[in-house]
């Protein structure tokens, strides 16, 4: 048996790692998976950097940032496997929800564009009255949440760096921050949107699946040098994770998974909000919770495959919001953060379906579509963005230029102002 230590944060989307460790999938491939709960992404990253842990539950854009050496990178990290898709939601305080509802622009329950338009009207009215800017929270500067929230705001003409204040707040604190009036809304993962609603301080207004049908969320993060040095161990681990993802995605296992995740050494919380996320019963707008299909998923439609186009989409948003400049070298590095080659190696000769391509045009599928694969049995789901945009990874520059609202060059302006 080989022992691997895996760092994770107490969130519902740690499910695949937790199931691999606790439901026997790691044991089957000769790996003892030791779960190490951490309190911040920064600490997970630092412990991974020095080898205190071997692999990690990781925000999908973090390996991309590490390859680009932006933010606070130490070791270069790669992502050979996607652990979860979707699962986030945007919630607002009761007061902001009421103000948005009063605009009459909220539209249908799951109309994300209408919600953004309502928020825009509230922000414009506040500005006319000379009130201070709204403050919204995300979980990390290199989190899918940050890019999802910004994408949604900008879709309605709200500039995320000028018209609102964005702050980072650890997920366990968002509900308290909202209650105390420090923030007006947040974009966070499960179970925290359901907790905010249950505590009576917030209402979820947008499920991420209604912004982008298939939004990559967490990946398995490993050090690049470790991936190179331990190919056999990594392949075995991926095979265990794939089995765990299939198990976690099967509705028949919801009860067992909820119990596993609610445990004191995992999320340590009552089961209801965890179950809500796994069954898609998150009450958007506080209305009766019609289940939302694909609210959070782990395996179906090739969800575990680490598409290069996902890494490049995050890069496009990093450029858009002035975290990094666009360059040919950056494109190469960013795309290389996700490693479909390792995934293919791990599953070659198994019954796991492998797509023929390593990248795809994101947002182009308006219906379920069978695509070229090793078994001819891979059906990709609708993956559209709510604004109808399409991301072609072969035309990064064109995609980035197509956004009227961006922050390119903004930090230079701020830095000059501060000098």
């Amino acid at each position: 048996m080989r022992t691997l230590r895996v760092g994770f944060l107490p969130l519902v989307d740690s499910a695949v790692l937790v199931a691999a460790a606790r439901a026997g999938f790691a044991d089957e491939v000769g790996i003892t998976l030791e779960l190490e709960r951490e309190n911040s992404w920064a600490t997970v990253r630092d412990k991974l950097t020095i080898g205190h842990i071997d692999c990690a539950h990781m925000l999908a854009p973090v390996p991309v940032a590490s390859q680009l050496q932006i933010g606070n990178p130490k070791a270069r990290m790669v992502a050979p496997f996607t652990l979860s898709t979707n699962g986030n939601a945007i919630s607002v305080s009761n007061a902001l929800f009421d103000a948005m509802a009063d605009t009459g622009l909220m539209g249908e329950r799951r109309d994300a564009a209408a919600k953004a338009a309502a928020l825009k009207a509230v922000i414009d009215a506040r500005e006319r009255r000379g009130e201070e800017r709204l403050t919204l929270g995300t979980v990390h500067p290199f989190s899918p949440h940050n890019y999802e929230l910004r994408y949604w705001l900008a879709s309605a003409g709200i500039h995320p760096d000028r018209d609102v204040t964005l702050v980072v707040i650890p997920p366990p604190f968002v509900v308290d921050y909202l209650r105390d009036g420090h923030i007006d809304g947040f974009c966070v993962g499960a179970p925290w949107n359901s907790v905010g609603l249950k505590e009576g301080v917030a209402k979820p207004v947008v499920a991420i699946t209604d912004l982008w049908r298939r939004a990559p969320e967490k990946v398995l993060g490993v050090r690049e040098v470790w991936a190179d040095a331990e190919p056999d161990t990594l392949d075995a681990l991926l095979r265990a994770l794939k089995k765990a993802a299939e198990w976690a995605d099967d509705p028949a296992n919801v009860d067992a998974l909820v119990e596993m995740l609610a445990a004191p050494d995992v999320i340590d919380m009552d089961e209801a909000p965890i179950r809500a996320a796994l069954t898609g019963r998150v009450a958007i707008c506080g209305e009766p919770d019609e289940p939302i299909p694909d609210y959070l998923l782990f395996d179906r439609n090739g969800a575990t495959f680490p598409w290069r186009s996902h890494a490049l989409w995050f890069y496009s948003q990093m450029v858009r919001w002035d975290q990094v400049p666009l360059s040919a070298e950056g494109t190469e590095l960013a795309g290389g953060a996700f490693r479909p080659d390792i995934y293919r190696r791990a599953f070659r000769g198994t019954s796991v379906t492998l797509p023929s391509a390593n990248a795809k045009v994101e947002g182009s599928l308006t219906a379920e579509q069978p695509v070229g694969s090793t078994t001819g049995r891979l059906v990709l789901a609708k993956d559209g963005f709510f604004d109808g945009r399409v991301f072609d990874p072969a035309d990064l520059g064109g995609y980035i230029d197509s956004f009227a609202i961006h922050s390119r060059g903004l930090h230079e302006v701020w830095a000059r102002a501060a000098r």
Partner: protein, 198 residues
């Protein structure tokens, strides 16, 4: 005056550890130390304190709040960088072992921070040792109680003298490669189960 001008912010919910560190820093000539224990709206506290050096307990979830300060923004005039010293991974390793993380504002010379970091690591390590000693003392006390209880059970059930009961415990522990405390605990647990008091 050695760098008394440097503004140091200590973010730690553990009041005792924060006090131990503050005392060390003041003794080292760093007089401008602020302790933040209330984590609500931390970002505002940091902006108000405008520190040159931020020391935060590694297990504090608010580390991700500091990560955001690496980005230039309108709220934070001077971006923050993580201090790693010249030795990179080795320094992170020492810091992680001690349970501390240090951030400095961009542009501050590393050599000015080194004495602060050395002091922080030694004080955090001292605190950790203190905690371990307390933990060991507590366990020893608990063990003694449970050993006494197990001895009483053996004396009562098997009619042994006190010293025979103790020797039996010790022999069993040696044979089973366990501590006397562990053996005593299993005896007490078994007795409780049999008496239905669990």
């Amino acid at each position: 005056m050695r760098d008394a001008s440097l503004k140091i912010l200590v973010i730690d919910e553990n009041a005792i550890r924060a006090a131990i560190l503050e005392e060390g820093l003041r003794e080292g000539g760093f007089t401008n130390v602020t302790i933040v224990r209330n984590m609500a709206n931390l970002l505002r506290s940091i902006v108000n304190a405008d520190p040159d050096v931020i020391i935060i307990d590694l297990e504090n979830p608010n580390r991700d709040v500091l990560e955001q300060m690496f980005q230039v923004s309108q709220t934070v005039r001077r971006p923050v960088a993580m201090f790693v010293g010249e030795s990179g991974a080795e320094m992170i390793e020492r810091a992680v072992e001690a349970g501390v993380s240090t951030y400095i504002v961009d542009g501050l010379k590393k050599e000015r921070v080194k004495p602060i970091l050395d002091m922080t690591l030694s004080r955090f390590n001292a605190f950790n040792r203190l905690q371990r000693e307390l933990e060991d003392t507590r366990r020893a006390l608990e063990d003694r109680k449970v050993v006494d209880r197990a001895k009483a059970l053996l004396m009562e059930r098997r009619g042994l003298s006190e010293s025979d009961a103790y020797h039996l415990l010790r022999r069993t522990a040696m044979n089973e490669h366990r501590t006397i405390g562990e053996v005593a605990r299993s005896i007490v647990t078994a007795a409780n189960l049999l008496e239905g008091s669990l």
